[in-house]
Symmetry: C2
Subunit: 168 residues, 2 copies
Amino acid sequence: MDTIEIMKISEGVEWAAHCCLLLDWMGEDGPVSTARLAAGYGLPAAYLNKQLQPLVKAGILTSTAGKKGGFRLARPLGEVTLMDVLAAIEGPAEAFQCAEIRQNGVWADLPASAFRAPCAIDAAMRGAELEWRRALAARTLASIQSDAELQAPGLRTQVREWYARPRQ
Amino acid sequence: MDTIEIMKISEGVEWAAHCCLLLDWMGEDGPVSTARLAAGYGLPAAYLNKQLQPLVKAGILTSTAGKKGGFRLARPLGEVTLMDVLAAIEGPAEAFQCAEIRQNGVWADLPASAFRAPCAIDAAMRGAELEWRRALAARTLASIQSDAELQAPGLRTQVREWYARPRQ
DNA sequence: GCGCGGCTACTCGGATATAAACTGTCCGAGTAGCACTGG
DNA sequence: CCAGTGCTACTCGGACAGTTTATATCCGAGTAGCCGCGC
């Protein structure tokens, strides 16, 4: 087994996005607890809870404690982008971090003016990453939900029925 | 200190890109050993060697052993893109890996036809990532080198002089 | 003088430790509902 | 019957381990140059 899977985005991003969609579908029924969310996707409940916490801090979800508590959307899905979800979990830092190694050796003797302009490699990487972030920011969870419902009509009621049915 | 720096791209990518540029500048002087490359950027030599190995396997560099051995560019910088370098080191896998968690719980009872279409979240993430990869593939190392030389004219000769000068 | 053989120094390449991050689990503080009690 | 109060069950939130990945280092196989020797 030699599966290469590096530069991986935390799976928490996928979990969080799915949960946001589900929270919208279940929105009228009040908060949904971590246990129920996890059951709906076959995920470890405690870890899912840990992954959703940053979304609360980011203002995407609200959490209520107590007997009938759980998570709820803090704002409509149309105002939440994939970029918001990813930034909440993975952090705002960029994927490529230039260490300015050019200043360590060969270029150490160059005048400081040579470093006014950013490293050309860094600039190119940042530019490409910006494209990525722009595409993510242009995509709201509402549009994704719309796509999902288009692929499988009646998804909303189906989900609500599944959750209404008593779990074994 | 709580600096968030996740979803990080391996620093080997930056090292490799810089080394490719330098190998082009030094191209006429024969192979450049890991030790000299590392000295030029203040990097750990053994680890840099480890990072450059995938570039050899990817056909970007060629390595020659022996007394005056080292690394050399396998093809001109105009035929090497940032995407090539990143794919060589980080692997060809995509950053976002959809685990299809939708099939685990709520949607388990849906007919198989509902899963013919890919997960809407996965589709959106892949689309954004594709933009990123496209931008990286459009950028050759030659164009980056051109930018660097534009910012600091005479860089080529300066680098060659630094390497010609005996190290202390 | 010239060719050849052995030697040496240096190279890459992979196997081996160490540190960091991600993944997963557990328990406690706190709260909202609810039942009970007294008026 | 109704309001107040204490209790209980359930929630999130953060503190605590296990496992994979990234980082760093070291040593061996192998090669190219070079020196010395013999012809």
